[in-house]
Amino acid sequence: MDLARPYVAVYTARFLLMLQYRAAAFAGFLTQCWWGGIKIMVYAAFYRASNPSTHPAITLAQVATYTWLNQALLALMPWSCDPEVALAVRTGVVSYDRLRPVDAYAYWYARAAAFMTARAVPRAILMALVAGVAMPLLSFRELSWAPPPSAAQSALFALSLVLLVCLASAFMMLLNIAVVVTLNDRWVSQSLNPLLVVLSGSLVPLALYPDWAQGALFLQPFAGIVDIPFRIYSGNLAGAFAYGGLALQLWWILVLVFVGRFWMARVMRRLEVQGG
């Protein structure tokens, strides 16, 4: 489609460019293996040592797979603004992006999506090899990265994954705009990361938080970045709940994109008047 051409092109270009940074991918991988391993050992200890009646609505095996998925796809989370935007802000050239005959929001959005997905792919592959292939072979099967329980669930997960990327990109756009407004990129990750880590389910699967919080936790926007997709993967969210999860992801994408576009239009307008 001719309409989408610029955006597909800029996505592809950034994606291919990011894939070049292979060394960084490997380095992160070691850390993620350790982190995943420790978390799972801790969860296993809790499950083992406690009365099954206190167990949450998610099994240890599902938690383990969830944790590996989370570590593997860590790069798909909106940790900070797009480094290219940060650079543009620092060198004062943000408005020059408007010399291109493209919708500025969509252009940056495609770039952000490429940035995250390109960084995630190599690490995900490595993690899958270790936690998905090597671990079961070394008889750590119960704590390994298990495949989805059914083809239907896999399909739902694929959809959820796409929505995950869209949602994370929408978040990153908000961060991008915030950086443009404040002309500073360092405060962004500092303040938002703790919130992101806790609410997305990256720290601990949301199902492990107290029962009274479950409703609110499921409904908030960050859940769609980690918790919902990875629970769909392992079948923990199935049937109506899975569809509900997907709907929630979609809902938040629409809200954040709407807010983002509106905000960006205002910010760009102000840049037009002020210059720089």
Partner: protein
């Protein structure tokens, strides 16, 4: 001692530079505090959900966590020079400038960049220790406090040693190895929980290779007056932080080897 005075000078210079941007400094500190405090949310949630862990309570975990956080924050504060050795000194040739000064390299590297933001983690460690104290209804005595300080000293030595090794490695490859980050930050992570929950091979690693267990788990057992479910002898518990110092000594050996290599090849 003259070295101490020099360190204080370095420290005040670093701090004065950071104070010029007070908002920034405070924000970074608060940021670190929050980021490190997050783990307590996980710990709290797990205990709230599951009850107890093999007889360990939230307060016990808090003690482990708090102690090791304090140790790491002090080590982190002192060791940035080693941390960035490859990128900021070797690559740029600045290391030669330091070597030309009539002072030990270690001293200069310690004084290099003493970041105030590390106090964020220090504060977090102290807060977590308070949480542990409250949760366990624990009474600190002078002896226990001394033991805690001793454990912190050992922990600081251990973490400092890890970063020194990282610096030593950068004499060979100028890229700083992620592996060390895994052991330092990962070590703090691993030390939050009692060694008994980990797999055997991992436990052995944490006691004999990178003795994180000796600067958190065992000393805290001694402080709390609990026996070790794994069967370590009672006399060992309060003595274990020595392992941290031993590790530091080994790391300095590695450092000297690295430095000798640098001096002979001239990078």
């Amino acid at each position: 001692m003259d070295a101490i005075r020099l360190l204080i000078r370095y420290g005040s210079a670093s701090i004065r530079a950071q104070i010029q941007y007070p908002f920034n400094a405070i924000m970074l500190g608060v940021g670190q505090f929050t980021a490190t405090m997050i783990d307590m949310i996980a710990i709290w949630a797990l205990f709230a959900r599951f009850g107890a862990l093999d007889g360990w309570r939230l307060g016990d975990i808090a003690m482990f966590f708090g102690l090791v956080s304090v140790s790491f924050s002090v080590a982190d504060f002192l060791s940035r020079g080693f941390d960035v050795l490859g990128a900021e000194f070797i690559k740029t040739g600045q290391l030669d400038r330091l070597l030309l000064r009539p002072r030990t390299l270690t001293l200069q590297l310690i004084g290099n960049d003493m970041r105030l933001s590390r106090f964020g983690r220090l504060a977090q460690g102290l807060v977590v220790l308070c949480i542990g104290t409250a949760n366990l209804d624990f009474h600190w005595t002078v002896a226990k406090l001394a033991l805690a300080l001793w454990a912190i000293a050992g922990g600081t030595a251990l973490f400092f040693g890890l970063i020194v090794i990282q610096g030593a490695i950068s004499f060979w490859t100028v890229e700083s190895l992620e592996a060390m980050n895994v052991l330092t930050y990962g070590g703090v992570q691993a030390a939050q929980f009692p060694l008994s929950i980990y797999a055997r091979w991992f436990r052995t690693f944490l006691i004999f290779v990178v003795p994180i267990g000796c600067v958190a788990y065992f000393p805290v057992l001694a402080i709390l007056g609990k026996p070790d479910p794994l069967g370590a002898p009672a006399w060992f518990l309060p003595v274990s932080p020595l392992a941290g110092f031993a590790f530091l000594a080994v790391s300095f050996l590695a450092w000297r080897v690295g430095l000798a290599r640098y001096a002979s090849t001239g990078s």
